[in-house]
Amino acid sequence: MKHLQYGLAALVLTANLAMAPARADGPGVTADTITLGSWSALTGPFAVYGVPGVAGQTAFYGKLNAEGGINGRKIRVITEDHAYNPQQAVAAARKLVNRDKVLAIQGAYGTGPSAAAFPYLQQEGAPFVMPYAGALDWYEPPRPLIVGAQTLLDYQARAVGRWAGKDGHKNVAVVHAAVAAYEKVASNVGPGVKSAIPDATVTMVPVKLGTTDYAPIALELAGKTPDAVVFIGTMQELVALAKELKQQKVKTSLYTYGGNVANDLITLGGEAVEGLRSVSLTLPVNSDAPAVAAYREALAKFAPNEKPDYGSLLTYALAMVTAEAIRNAGEPLTRESLMTGFNTLKDFDTGIIGKVTVTPERHLGTTEVIPVEIKGGQWATAGTFVDALSNW
């Protein structure tokens, strides 16, 4: 009989779900709270990115709330797991907007999953701000409800390509995960290299996403003897590639882009990644810049399970931008005023990422990156913030 009860409980619960009364509070704003929604990959293979991403904003809002919030309102963030499945992201969007009545979706992780939710968000008029994700068509042409400050991967790819070119590498191999999203990003490396060395040779080497055994690829590269290898893919695979290249004694310089600028890369890659160069969106997490120090302190306090790292530092900075926009929005705080708050950000400096300027015509707040490299087992800056789109 006990078992029957479980079944009944589930049924009753379904019924409850169907009948739950809608709360009458406005879209996420009350006298003392602002409710924001977010989604991320908390389970599955992408949790390794998703979980730190959530930790960064948790740390920032924790610190902000501890300091009194914004105009007396505390920030509450409801985060849903989508396990990097776009269909689950659509479900999350519906729950957050329809049931939880959030003011906006912010800091959401996952390009594909987030894009899947756009039609619904647009129908409901819910803003989608400062995502930990992004694609070119999100911002070009600008969409009224979408605003971000994460320099696009495409721009990062161009910048890293240019850097390889500036370093004098004429024969560049681009190893990339063979799915459309990565392919598109990787296609920007070539123009970047050529912007520095017009007659450079750039070869594309597609690899199945999720490959663990990089021996065949390393052997293939050994045959091509490139001066530099630019890797556009996940960190685990970058480590596998770096180790395999080192093993096969392929003498080449390795470059990658922002997503892989994490301490884990050094932990996992060890000597194999020493000297690796990358463009980054943030200052290194061990930087002694005051904002980064404050981040480390907040993380230790509000998300103690996460060690300081690139992902959480970035989302910490993005949350900082959101908070600034909410301040800018003033009273009453509505979805419209929030968007105005964003649209009036000018040269906002988080002290962590490039300066953020948003206008109605420019909804991607920054296109800056900073060159970094692994030196002595640590990330170190190799320059200052530059515009990825410029010929720096």
Binding site: P45, V48, G50, A178, K208, E220, Q247, Q248, L268
Partner: protein
């Protein structure tokens, strides 16, 4: 084609992990008719506990032992408390399989909840690389392959020469006859699960050493191990080991000479083709149909 031998060598190295997992799956299937979908997660659990122990100063080799014991122990408990109560027979085949799917989810979620999602590493047993057929392989991989091969040889010896091993083969062939000569089916099942999960833990440990310790450590490898199992036959232990190596080599050949992008598809196409010719795998027992 100048790098054919190196590609095969690399294939054997990665194939050893698939072969261990495949062997583990087959040992468990033969003893209890259960396809253990949680074998990868059990092995990963063993690796996580081993890494924690290594963090407390246990030597790496000790860590490997811990991984084996934890995974094997989890297997024994699973068989005793989750699989045995389901009873035997054709009808429980998919029920047992789904129970292991559920268990795998639980372990997987627990790993994330307890140890977080960030990958960590296991230090190499022996640093440095050696050249095999002109391909550089880390000593780590060579040792790992050596241990994998040794473990398989040990298992082969166990099944071939020890009374318990012979009893397990006998039990796999005829449960009833094994019972009436005095073989305890519960003990056979326990040993099979311990061995199967323990072998998987060896595979997982070396996979982790090669890449990183993460909750999805065995995902890709397990998938190929299953391919190897079906290639060699679900009931044949040598078949599973050979199947695992075959997949490793095939995967590397496909990745190197055909398309790095479509390697899984190519591997699976080959398996489907093989199965159409030999529906129970290369070394598997044919299906008996009573008339």
């Amino acid at each position: 084609m100048h790098d054919l031998l190196p590609v095969i060598a690399a294939g054997i190295v990665s194939g050893s992990a698939y072969a261990l997992l495949a062997l583990g799956i087959v040992i468990i299937f033969r003893s209890t008719d259960t396809v253990n979908f949680a074998i990868g997660d059990m092995a990963t659990l063993g690796v996580y506990i081993a890494v924690t122990a290594i963090g407390f100063g246990v030597p790496v080799a000790g860590g490997l032992l811990i991984a084996i014991v934890v995974a094997g122990g989890t297997g024994v408990l699973t068989e005793r408390f989750l699989i045995r109560p389901l009873g035997a027979g054709h009808k429980s085949l998919f029920i047992a399989l789904v129970v292991t799917i559920g268990l795998g989810l639980v372990i997987h979620a627990a790993l994330g909840a307890i140890w977080g999602h960030r990958p960590t590493t296991i230090p190499a047993i022996i640093p440095g690389t050696a050249s095999v057929f002109g391909v550089a392989l880390t000593w780590n991989k060579i040792v790992a392959t050596g241990i994998a091969l040794a473990a398989m040889a040990l298992v082969a010896w166990f099944f071939r020469f020890t009374p318990m091993g012979v009893a397990m083969r006998a039990s796999a062939e005829d449960h009833f006859a094994a019972r009436i000569v005095g073989i305890n089916p519960g003990r056979i099942a326990a040993i099979a699960w311990f061995l199967g999960c323990g072998l998987a833990a060896i595979a997982a440990f070396f996979l982790a050493m090669d890449t990183s310790v993460n909750a999805n450590l065995t995902l890709a490898a397990l998938f190929r191990a299953f391919a190897g199992v079906f290639l060699g036959g679900l009931t044949s232990m040598p078949g599973a080991a050979i199947g695992g190596f075959a997949i490793g080599i095939l995967d590397n050949l496909a990745g190197r000479y055909l398309s790095a992008n479509y390697r899984d598809t190519i591997v699976f196409a080959v398996i489907v083709a093989v199965l159409f010719v030999r529906p129970s795998g290369f070394l598997g027992a044919g299906r008996k149909e009573r008339v």
